[in-house]
């Protein structure tokens, strides 16, 4: 679905050289990197929106020329969930989710609700279809954006930091469940994240965007690459700290229950 061969590009002052990447049809690729590592820039390179200095980019079996962007026919086959909440304030949730259908197919508002309702139910936001973006929380907004991205049944879905923002634990689980469901339905997924929790996605190909390089995950990585080793160390420390904090939190939370037993 996406293939980068020896691609070089520059994002801001950061130069990336010799980037190789492959995302097969139906597959999942998770690009893990810290903030400002160039994850969104990498997505733009894959979609031909950002110019490249060298190498070749293939998107849906077509070679994308540097910075040319997508062809109109390709746009509808690629769904995208941006990092920030980008629901239009003047449209209801149902109106936002159905916006591509209303614009491209001219479906009227009353028919649109019937068309988007099953999708809203599928994402667990069926009850908030008539509400406006300022009346919903971040979990619901993120799920609505995911629903909007898949309403045209794209074969490739790009999720830029899907679990970033003010998602609460329930929202995080809902987003993860939605990602899993999409993967099970055969949608090809490209996910960028700074959250190691994405490792819970089964059969995903992991890449680390670190030190201006895209390093594919491998069992020998820790010994092979210094930058990746340090990045790993950070992730491990973060995960272990989180585990400790959560276990401490649970001890306090369920103390009464344990004493009762």
């Amino acid at each position: 679905m996406i293939r980068l061969q020896n691609v070089s590009f520059t994002i801001g002052t950061n130069s990336f050289n010799g980037v190789d990447f492959h995302l097969p049809r139906g597959g999942v690729a998770v690009i893990l990197g810290s903030r400002m590592a160039g994850k969104t820039g990498f997505i733009n390179v894959c979609l031909g929106r950002h110019p490249i200095d060298a190498g070749v980019v293939f998107l849906m079996e077509r070679q994308v020329l540097s910075g040319e962007g997508l062809q109109p026919s390709e746009v509808r086959r690629i769904g995208m969930v941006t990092q920030q909440v980008t629901l239009l304030d003047n449209l209801s949730v149902a109106g936002n989710v159905g916006l591509p259908l209303a614009y491209h197919l001219g479906i009227k508002e009353r028919d649109l609700r019937d068309r988007v309702r099953p999708l809203l139910d599928q994402f667990g936001i069926g009850k908030i279809g008539d509400r406006f973006p300022h009346q919903i929380n971040n979990n619901e907004a993120k799920l609505a954006m995911m629903a909007r991205a898949v309403i045209q049944q794209p074969s490739l879905l790009i999720l830029d930091e899907p679990t970033a923002g003010d998602l609460d634990p329930a929202g995080f689980l809902q987003v993860m469940a939605a990602i899993k469901r999409l993967h099970d339905n055969g949608v090809t997924l490209l996910i960028t994240t700074c959250s190691p929790s994405m490792a819970s996605i089964e059969s995903a190909g992991f890449y680390y965007l670190v030190d201006h390089r895209l390093i594919p995950h491998s069992d020998h990585l820790e010994t092979a690459d210094r930058a990746a080793r340090e990045f790993f160390k950070e992730i491990r420390n973060y995960t272990e700290r989180q585990k400790r904090e959560i276990s401490g939190f649970f001890k306090v939370l369920f103390k009464d229950e344990q004493t009762e037993k």
């Binding site: 109109p72 746009v75 995208m80 920030q84 980008t86 614009y103 491209h104 001219g106």
Partner: protein, 281 residues
């Protein structure tokens, strides 16, 4: 430290050096030139977007345009009424004080008619459009830009020019023409009100003279100015809105810049059209 290393590279030295007045002048002129070129480019984008509208998209954009006309035109009726009544009333009172027989003079009525239809109504309507709709457009588009709506819409295959530019420019143009006519009607209304309180004004006679002095050319130039100023205000405000980059603090700066630029453009374009009209007439 090595002395050679302490000398900054040539480019840096040039950038840090204070520019001479001529260089500053040239620089600002070039920047202005770039600004007008960008406006022309944005107008082209609007035009291409309009021409590329097909079937379902046309229907969707038509709905957006109607909303814009309602916001910029219908909702502005109150402000336009107030301004038109006040200005019309002031002009009538002044004429009564300094030219008591003006209502019987076709010459003076000719001047008043031309003044209102060709100059006052289009300019004041455009200024109201800038203050009400122009500022709203900059804030709306700027905020959407910062929040990444443009990229999100583009990723859904929605043409930014069709979604943002076309409804706003057409909406402001139609609102400009409609409010222009409404301004003139409200001026008459103010004269009716004043004449009902003030003796010595023969309103039917004045209306007859006004209708006689209103030529097709006046109507044409009024409509033409209304449409050109509507397009100009729309393009300037959209340009400032979509040029907001990443920070919310840019939005008030861009809004202020859009309002000042649109005000100046309104007066300059009005003068150019008037000059062209009076020279060729």
């Amino acid at each position: 430290m090595n002395k050679e290393m302490a000398v900054p590279p040539v480019g840096v030295a040039q950038a840090e050096r204070e520019l001479t007045w001529f260089e500053s002048y040239l620089n600002s002129r070039l920047q202005q030139l770039a600004f007008w070129r960008q406006l022309a480019y944005l107008f082209m984008e609007f035009w291409m977007g309009l021409r590329a509208l097909r079937g379902n998209q046309r229907r969707y954009v038509k709905n957006l345009t109607i909303h814009q006309i309602i916001f910029s035109g219908i909702d502005a009726v109150g402000v336009v009424s107030t301004v038109a009544v006040v200005i019309g009333g002031v002009v009538l009172v002044q004429m009564m004080a300094y030219a008591p027989g003006f209502q019987g003079s076709p010459f003076l009525m000719d001047i008043i008619t031309s003044l209102f239809t060709n100059e006052i109504a289009p300019v004041f309507t455009a200024l109201i459009l800038v203050g009400r709709s122009g500022s709203a457009i900059v804030v709306e588009l700027g905020t959407m830009r910062v929040k990444g709506h443009h990229e999100a819409l583009a990723s859904m295959g929605i043409d930014i020019a069709q979604y943002f530019y076309v409804p706003r420019v057409i909406g402001l143009t139609v609102a400009g023409i409609l409010l222009n006519g409404y301004f003139i009607i409200m001026t008459f209304f103010s004269w009716f009100i004043i004449s009902s309180f003030q003796r010595g004004i023969d309103m039917p006679k004045m209306i007859n003279l006004f209708v006689d002095s209103l030529h097709a050319g006046d109507v044409f130039i009024s409509v033409f100015k209304g449409s050109v100023l509507g397009i100009t205000v729309g393009i300037i405000c959209i340009h400032q809105g979509v040029n907001v980059k990443k920070s919310v603090t840019e939005i008030p700066q861009r809004t202020s810049k859009a309002i000042v630029t649109a005000f100046i453009a309104t007066f300059v374009i009005n003068i150019i059209i008037s000059l062209g009209w009076y020279i060729t007439r």
